[in-house]
């Protein structure tokens, strides 16, 4: 079983809002200094799912991440959890790609690796929550995809997947190769052991650029982006409180009803 997992570094979603600021002019988040990015929690679930499959029936796990400042750090984390190999995709041409560009880079990398049975991704990245990269990789590779999986089992070369849907869950069976994105309902992600961290620190992680994986320059980078960020800001929530009174509960209720009806939907 050859499993490929795609992971992304994001600003730690557990950080309190006071820790970072937004540059409204450049439409950029200014992360707090000294606080490293973390593996997007949904992607960590994908690594966990891969490890569970490997434990159940053997195989090899290769982790991919598109290189930003913290790529190396989250790659080491995935390796420490138990992944076998990793590749960092790093090239100036990839910078400022949107989901489409990133999916192109990852799909090209998978093609270069050649051998694979299963690709796992998080259901969405915890920073932009777009949730398109997994499906796009499947599209580019022309393989089936199931998104928001809660559990994955592999039985005699057939994937059995329970996926979260709006009204409950659905169970799918599909052949390999396929791509699956993982949802938080899957459960707990393991914490790396000390020796896991030590063996991860010793592994070589190659960096591949545009020429290594043969990306199409017209499909990556800011110029190729299909999505355009219009405005980035920290939302301000306002709470107002108004006391409704009356000489008795009936009058208070009548006034309250009036006020509610006066609010336009």
């Amino acid at each position: 079983m050859e499993i490929i997992v795609c992971i992304k570094p994001v600003l730690d979603p557990d950080l309190p809002p006071a820790k970072f600021t937004v540059d409204g002019k450049k439409n950029e988040v200014i992360p707090p200094e000294g606080v490293p990015f973390v593996m997007s929690p949904y992607d960590a679930l994908a690594v966990e799912a891969a490890l569970r499959i490997k434990e159940a029936q053997g195989g090899k796990i290769t982790v991919l991440t598109q290189g930003t400042k913290y790529a190396e750090e989250i790659m080491r984390k995935a390796l420490a959890m138990g992944a076998d190999e990793g590749v960092i995709l790093s090239d100036p041409a990839f910078e400022d790609s949107d989901g489409f560009g990133t999916a192109h880079v990852l799909a090209q990398t998978v093609k270069k690796i050649g051998k694979f049975d299963l690709i796992l991704c998080g259901r969405q990245a915890a920073d932009w929550d777009a949730g398109v990269v997994g499906s796009l990789i499947a599209e580019y590779l022309n393989i089936p995809v199931v998104i928001r999986a809660k559990s994955i089992e592999v039985l005699d070369g057939v994937l059995k997947i329970e996926r979260i849907s709006t009204n409950g869950s659905e169970v799918f069976e599909l052949g390999l190769p396929a791509l699956v994105t993982l949802s938080s309902e899957m459960g707990q992600v393991r914490i790396p052991s000390g020796w896991g961290i030590i063996s991860a620190a010793k592994k070589q992680v190659p960096k591949w650029g545009a020429t290594d994986i043969g990306t199409d320059p017209s499909q990556t980078g800011a110029a190729a982006a299909v999505n355009r960020l219009v405005k980035l800001y920290v939302p301000v929530y306002e709470r107002k409180c108004e006391m409704v009174t009356g000489k008795d509960p009936a009058e208070a209720a009548a006034r309250l009803t009036e006020k509610i009806l006066a609010i336009k939907p």
Binding site: A18, E33, G34, V35, P36, G194, W195, I197, I198, A201
Partner: protein, 428 residues
Amino acid sequence: MEKFDAIVVGAGPAGCAAAYTMAKAGLTVLVLERGKYTGAKNMWGGAFFGPVMGEIFPEFRKEAPVERFINRHIISFMTKEDCLSIDFKSYHGDEGSSPGFIMLRAKFDRWMSTKVEQAGAILATGLEVTDFIFDGSRVAGVKVGTEEFPGNVVILTDGANSLLAKKAGLRDDYKAPDLKQGVKEIIKLPREVIEDRFGVSGSEGVVMEFVGACTKGLPGGGFIYTNQESLSVGVVVQLSALLENNVKASDLIEDFKEHPSVRPLIRNGETVEYSAHLIPVSGVAMMPRLYSGGILVAGDAAAMVLGTGLILEGANLAMAAGIAAGNTVIGAKALNDFSALALSQYESLLKESFVMKDLQTFRRAPHFLENPRIYNDYPEWTCAMMRGIFNSTGKARRNILEVVKESMKGKIGLMQLVGDTLKARKAI
């Protein structure tokens, strides 16, 4: 199972300096840090003094995340309503050449630990060392829960109140007066505002120390340090005094921020971080045994903190001790001898360096600084004297000597003053 040449417990200044020294010499080094990432839980005031940083990292002036270089020191005595300050500015050398500088731990620890990794050491975060592996009475590695990590030498740099030093049999329990508690807020302000309020420009910075009302007269002090775009504002107080007087350090910092001489400095600032930490302050009197078979201890874990009341230095001593520990292990490795006798070289190195010399010179300071008059009567007296000198009452003025005498009345006896001055001469 792989056995490391050295295992370093804690990636603060002491641990990083030790690990860097050894890794550069080609030793296999494992650094275990309990924080989720380096610097995650660490704090300090932020003023680093002396040349030791440049000795280990010659490139630090260009690379390290220095907030500001110190060219202005302000020492203030405060009562509830007054504040008398000595303001020392120094413009020797170019901007950025000052031997003192201000840094934030989150950034500094990360920079330093990256250096350690680049030198070849393995840094593993999120792992809290809980115990040792013993070989007879000799330490032969560490345990993190049920996981074991064998090593020829363990360097303990786990900071103040090291429980592991106790477990290794290197120290007894501390007494409450041996520790101070520090609390600190980081208050965000625009760079231009900081430069205007503190009279600095470019990379210049100020350290301000306060004595008196900021600790409600308890042994300790307050501080304000300028970062690039924030202020570090804090209070350090003797732990036993807090307990005895039922005072909370968190309340003291609130009062400190409200003091009329502090409030305008932090006005409109936003508190973005709050932290608290212990400081070992009794110096040589509380120092553990520094080595034993297979183990060395350095930095706060060995109480290497110098406090004279006017300065608080720990990070530079920690780094110097870390370097000495590292060099000791390099020597031990060459002879493949990690016995207590071989590791005793560490103590010799420390005695030759400023670490033990300074701690010896100021060995009486901790006791001297417990004198409550320093935090009550003297600020009251000096401020009353200044009020007397500057206050114009419409009546005939008295000469200055009379003002001084008057201000001492009921506060300080002449003999006390002479006695305390003599003690101060010996202690600091």
